[in-house]
């Protein structure tokens, strides 16, 4: 019996590869297994090789695995591209329709199952996915009934007959596999899972759910990979709460419309990826200058320009910290797990309103799109804090000669009282031009300095819960591994392997990218002989930020990957050993 295995299904895009993986994973998730998936896909609707790799485990896992146990192939290309990933003795199940073959020099077992033929006999070749799932069940030794609940839910609208046919397809796939293999094959039977209920979701789902829970009632956005799921979820859910989503003409409109709506008092967000964020840069400056709260999600993907739109990368870091001309206070936060993505989405809204600043919620493609098992979220941790805004407040008349409210009053903490349009005695002016306390344009030098200092002062006392996730058992470590966003899982998986080789390894995962938690990182770096920064980019952006804020350049080493794929645990282990 085993505790974890990796399964992959591949074929042509548009052939139902995703849904095959989805049904397989959902059924196992219901039994309490931990799932973690990685989708390989291209920027096209139909055609081209695509695959979905799913790791199944009896304990929590947040990384793809180095190798593969089972490969389901709907075409020969899937075998050609992926067969070398299979472990010694791994299984390939191919549709007999294309006469699958595997290289003779590999020790893998090939089973040719008539996916399409069985499905067609049952009425439609579309059900070939179900036949493949049935064959998988036979390998794993899972009863076919495990799928019944999921199949019923998916096909309920199409009627009992369709549910029955699909279940029959699964059964036939299992039966045919057993005939071919001559009974159960060893080495693929999973230990029983804990049976607990968990969600099966992507990071973008968690962010979108966080926004709904955190009081977002309007969104303006433009579709882009890998951010669109956030918009799609809010399009579905916001109308239940009176809210709505506008799909704008471009990202400039998305961002400025969100600024207009936040100014008028509604928690409004926008989400995009690198190309969209590039277009939003001027608007981010407007938010900073006018002190209108704003939350923008940047789901990083491969850059520059259109780059690798469907691939993993973490190369927007510098742009998110420094992007926009001039100097504004800004917060850049980077959740490292799907759970954190949910809580951070709520917190981003609070920080934006409390400090009246733009907040970038940074993710990466693998965190945004990697579907995985997630423990139920804690409702009691969701709170809405609006800072110095009370829309129901009755304001006194002001002493300004025009009756203008001091929206930009210079205060000790730099944060001014905030009012929204419609409030009596709250009239003020808002402008991206330098302005005085009532918002009227002013180029007076002394005023400029006061307002600039006031704005920048806001972040001096930023309260941020857990800016760095630390796993630091060693007072003197050989290696401190540093990362952000989705690399957390792969680093956590590499550490026990490095320790098994006698290395003492600490881990710091940075969740608050800007303002940089320099003190916290300094104490971690002081305890380490080597600092290895693991990041999916070519120039070592996080390492550079670390050096800039903390120094100790001689200790800091780069561990980079920028070929579009997430790190594998073995890569981190191997390169760490090379570096020390």
């Amino acid at each position: 019996m085993i505790d974890q295995l990796s399964w992959k299904v591949g074929g042509q895009q548009g052939e139902g590869i995703d849904s095959t993986g989805e049904i397989f994973a959902m059924a196992l998730n219901r039994q309490g297994y931990y799932l973690y998936s990685y989708r390989h896909f291209s920027s096209r609707i139909k055609g081209g090789h695509t695959n979905n790799k799913i790791r199944v485990s009896t304990s929590e896992t947040r990384s793809i695995s180095d190798d593969l146990d089972i490969l389901i192939a709907f075409d020969q290309e899937t075998i050609d591209v992926n067969v070398h990933e299979l472990r010694d003795g791994g299984v390939v199940i191919g549709d007999s329709k294309f006469n699958p073959t595997v290289p003779e020099d590999l020790n893998v077992r090939l089973y040719s199952v008539p996916f399409t033929e069985i499905a067609s006999e049952l009425g439609t070749s579309l059900m070939k996915n179900m036949v493949a799932i049935g064959a998988t069940s036979a390998v794993l030794g899972l009863p076919v009934e495990s799928y019944l609940e999921v199949v019923e839910e998916i096909f309920a609208r199409k009627g009992a007959k369709v549910v029955e046919k699909n279940m029959e397809a699964i059964q036939k796939g299992a039966d045919r596999f057993n005939e071919l293999s001559g009974g159960q094959i060893d080495g693929f039977q999973l230990n029983k899972a804990d049976g607990k209920k968990r969600m099966f979701m992507i990071g973008n789902d968690a962010i979108a759910l966080g926004f709904v829970a955190g009081g977002v009632r309007f969104m303006s956005a433009y579709p882009i990979t890998p951010a669109s799921e956030i918009m799609e979820y809010l399009i579905k859910k916001l109308p239940e709460f009176g809210g709505t989503v506008i799909q704008t003409e471009d990202e400039i409109a998305a961002c400025t419309m969100a600024i207009g709506a936040n100014y008028a008092g509604v928690r409004t967000i926008t989400s995009s990826a690198g190309p969209g964020l590039s277009l939003m840069m001027e608007a981010l400056g407007l938010s900073g200058m006018t002190e209108v709260p704003l939350v923008v999600v940047d789901t990083q993907r491969g850059g520059p320009s259109t780059g690798l739109p469907t691939k993993q990368e973490q190369s927007d870091l510098m742009a998110m910290i420094y992007g926009t001309h001039g100097e504004i206070p800004k917060v850049v936060m980077a959740p490292s797990t799907v759970e954190e993505a949910f809580y951070d989405a709520v917190e981003a809204l609070n920080i934006a309103e409390e400090y009246q600043i733009p907040v970038i919620l940074l993710t990466d493609l693998q965190l945004s799109l990697g579907k995985q098992s997630v423990e139920p979220l804690d409702y009691s941790r969701v709170e809405i804090r609006r800072g110095k805004l009370d829309p129901k407040e009755e304001l006194p008349e002001t002493d300004d000669k025009d009756g203008y409210f001091k929206r930009y009053e210079v205060t000790e903490d730099g944060i001014s009282p905030r009012v929204i349009p419609g409030m009596k005695n709250g009239i003020h002016h808002v402008t991206g031009v330098e302005h005085d306390e009532t918002g009227k344009p002013s180029e007076v030098a002394a005023n400029r300095q006061k307002q600039m200092d006031k704005r920048l002062r806001k972040l001096q006392n930023l309260r941020f819960n857990v800016p760095v996730v630390k796993q630091a058992p060693h007072k003197e470590a050989d290696i401190l591994l540093v990362g952000f966003n989705s690399t957390r899982g792969v680093i956590e998986e590499a550490i026990p392997r490095l320790e098994a080789d006698g290395l003492k390894v600490n881990h710091a995962h940075i969740r608050l990218i800007h303002p940089f938690p320099a003190d916290e990182m300094r104490s971690m770096i002081d305890k380490a002989k080597n600092v290895i920064v693991v990041e999916n980019n070519a120039t070592g952006q996080l390492a550079n930020i670390l050096k800039m804020n903390v120094g100790q350049h001689e200790k800091v080493k780069n561990l980079l990957k920028y070929d579009g794929n997430p790190f594998l645990p073995s890569e981190v282990v191997m390169k760490c050993k090379e570096l020390v």
Binding site: M257, Y263, A264, V266, A283, G422, H428, V430, T431, G439
Partner: protein, 288 residues
């Protein structure tokens, strides 16, 4: 009840003496009072350029944004609080050059705001370059040999983009301009009002006298029917776009807010933000 004086503040506009924008400012103040608004019911959102300063010269909530983006900001304000009256305003460069993408989409989206363009066919604040409204042959700093690009027929374009309210006026006709702005505010949907507002410093061709000579008032055209889109288009083309009055109005089509699925009748800015625990658990269970 507020009068137009309640929409004034003590700031002296930085426009040149004789600038057409003074009248536009006065017309907005009068129209706001005439339709029964209080200053805190009104939000004026403006772009960048000489005319963009207008949000600071009217006593109301004012938002002076970035170049070309007054419309998305204004639409965001309206979506957040449908109880507010929202006026977007700016120049022809702001609305028809850098912001043209937003203008066309705001027209077809039909959110209930009023967009007033102060059209002087030139870039004034940057000291005299060509605008997308400049005529062919117009000489400016950026077109020393005369512009070779065609001017955009914005009224015609608005009609083809699905506009529900299209009007044009001239800044010296304070009475007519005021009544058109009132009609625009009262219109249930997006209203586009293009106002010829001469630049006395940099545009020596399209002057007050030039407009007086060339503009045709729709009230003088017998049988003109502003609910007839075909007639509106034909009249514009026959007069090279140089007409004034309400060119077209569709009084039937509902606004975006009335069509948006599930969108709250109560101003969004006033709804409770808290999600009940039961609802939260239901949303979580959808992922299980």
């Amino acid at each position: 009840m507020a009068t137009f004086k309640d929409f004034r503040n003590s700031i002296k506009p930085n426009w040149c003496p004789g600038c057409g924008d003074f009248s536009v400012q006065a017309a907005i103040q009068r129209a706001a009072a005439n339709v029964g608004l209080e200053p805190d019911d009104l939000a004026v959102v403006s772009g960048i350029g000489c005319s963009g300063r207008i949000s600071g010269y009217i006593k109301s909530y004012g938002f002076h944004g970035i170049h070309g983006r007054s419309l998305p900001i204004a639409q965001g304000v309206k979506m957040a609080n449908r109880d507010l009256t929202v006026i977007a305003s700016g120049g022809d460069g702001d609305g028809f050059a850098i912001g043209m993408g937003h203008t066309v989409h705001a027209i077809r989206r039909n959110i209930d705001i009023t967009y007033i363009v102060m059209d002087n066919q030139i870039y004034g604040l940057t000291k005299g370059q060509t605008s997308p409204r400049s005529d062919v042959g117009f000489k400016t700093k950026s077109t020393p040999e005369g512009s070779v690009e065609s001017a955009i027929g914005v009224m015609e374009l608005a009609l083809t983009a699905g506009a529900t309210f299209v009007a044009q006026s001239f800044s010296t006709d304070l009475k007519e301009l005021t009544s058109i702005i009132e009609a625009g505010i009262n219109h249930k949907g997006f209203s586009l009002i293009n106002v010829f507002s001469p630049c006395v410093t940099y545009n020596k061709v399209n002057t007050y006298d030039w407009f007086k000579e060339h503009l045709v008032s729709l009230s003088t055209i017998e049988g003109y029917d502003s609910s007839n889109r075909m007639m509106a288009m034909q009249t514009l083309m026959e007069n090279k776009g140089l007409v004034k009055g309400i060119i077209y109005q569709d009084k039937v089509k509902p606004s975006y807010q009335d069509l948006a699925h599930g969108y709250s009748k109560e101003a969004l800015a006033k709804v409770d933000l808290n999600l009940p625990e039961e609802k939260f658990n239901q949303l979580m269970s959808e992922f299980m």
